[in-house]
Symmetry: C2
Subunit: 170 residues, 2 copies
DNA sequence: GCACAAAGTTAGACATGGCTAACAATCTGC
DNA sequence: GCAGATTGTTAGCCATGTCTAACTTTGTGC
């Protein structure tokens, strides 16, 4: 139920928070704003879901790339490119194997399963679209690469379509 | 050191990975591609850093909003809007307090410190810019809100400037 | 002003993601 | 084909972020 009663502006023993928001929506909207609350929750749910997959996505994308460029994907190379230590990679690879995205044998390099390959392809597509879009907007390539690496995990298919169209058009 | 020797295309007992990449860069670039490796690592470092702050950013932004809209920020309302359980919020608030972004007394609602308020303001600004940009690109408001909630933590100041300019111009 | 409802805290489980240290396997160069 | 370098694994530490269950405090309605 959360807030139902004349809660808005209790401001009891509270330091009444002068300018928490500097300039917000100046109109003091009426009590009943529960609609946005649920909507927001939906958005945050989605973001949390995306966050759970980010790392796996970065891994499989990178593994596919290494296999393509180097012929194999070794933990030491994965670690170097991600900027983490090898044991961190080893542990994460165990999880990815458990989740069916890769296969691995002790002391050998890593392979993608069909699922892994398919996820990698999807990730690469998103990465490319976001990157091309940012560059076509006028961003320098280094910053574009950095931002794309984070943004790629949080763009809906709809946004991707708009990004793609914009990059082509411009 | 990573890959120095004639490593590329060992493809020993390896299933030689037919079409890991479907269509990549078709030109089989020479062995020495170590430049991009370090660049990539830098990008990933930055993303990991951003990931560490995402949750705190969402919290302070939401807390500022609640204080503005409702007069106070109660754990139960934070939880409802984030879509998580109250004890989760309680524990996270402890961390934010430890980090000096909020103050709180047992069983009372939450306040932002000066640092917290300043971070909240910065987050709100980013959120607004990203949201306005996505909408001006043609995205529907609900999807825009969802995507903005994730993207906002991964846009550089440069990108923000370009987003801002685009939204104004269009 | 008391009983009950609502909100908040604490404890503890479990998964993730980072690290270091110690050990094991593999590979390379003679 | 062996010594030494490189790579990989395992164990274990720590912080975070989620949850449920049990308990405490606060607030409400009569
Ligand atoms: Mn990424
Ligand atoms: Mn990527
Ligand atoms: Mn957010
Ligand atoms: Mn936000």
């Amino acid at each position: 139920m959360a807030n139902n009663l004349p809660y808005a502006f209790t401001c009891q023993s509270i330091p009444c928070d002068t300018d928490a928001m500097t300039e917000f929506d100046p109109a003091p909207h009426a009590t009943s704003d529960d609609r946005p609350a649920d909507l927001r929750a939906g958005a945050f749910q989605g973001v949390r879901e995306a966050r759970r997959n980010e790392l796996a996505e970065d891994y499989v994308e990178l593994i596919a790339e290494l296999i393509h460029d180097q012929g194999e994907a070794r933990p030491v190379d994965i670690a170097a490119r991600l900027g983490v230590k090898v044991p961190t990679v080893s542990k994460t690879l165990d999880r990815l194997a458990r989740e069916g995205l890769i296969t691995r044998a002790k002391y050998r390099s890593v392979f993608l399963t069909d699922d892994g390959r398919s996820l990698a392809k999807e990730c690469r597509r998103r990465h490319e679209i976001v990157l091309r879009f940012l560059i076509s907007l006028g961003l320098d390539p280094v910053t574009a690469e950095r931002d794309a690496e984070g943004i790629e995990h949080h763009v809906s298919e709809r946004t991707l379509a708009l990004f793609s169209a914009f990059a082509s058009r411009s």
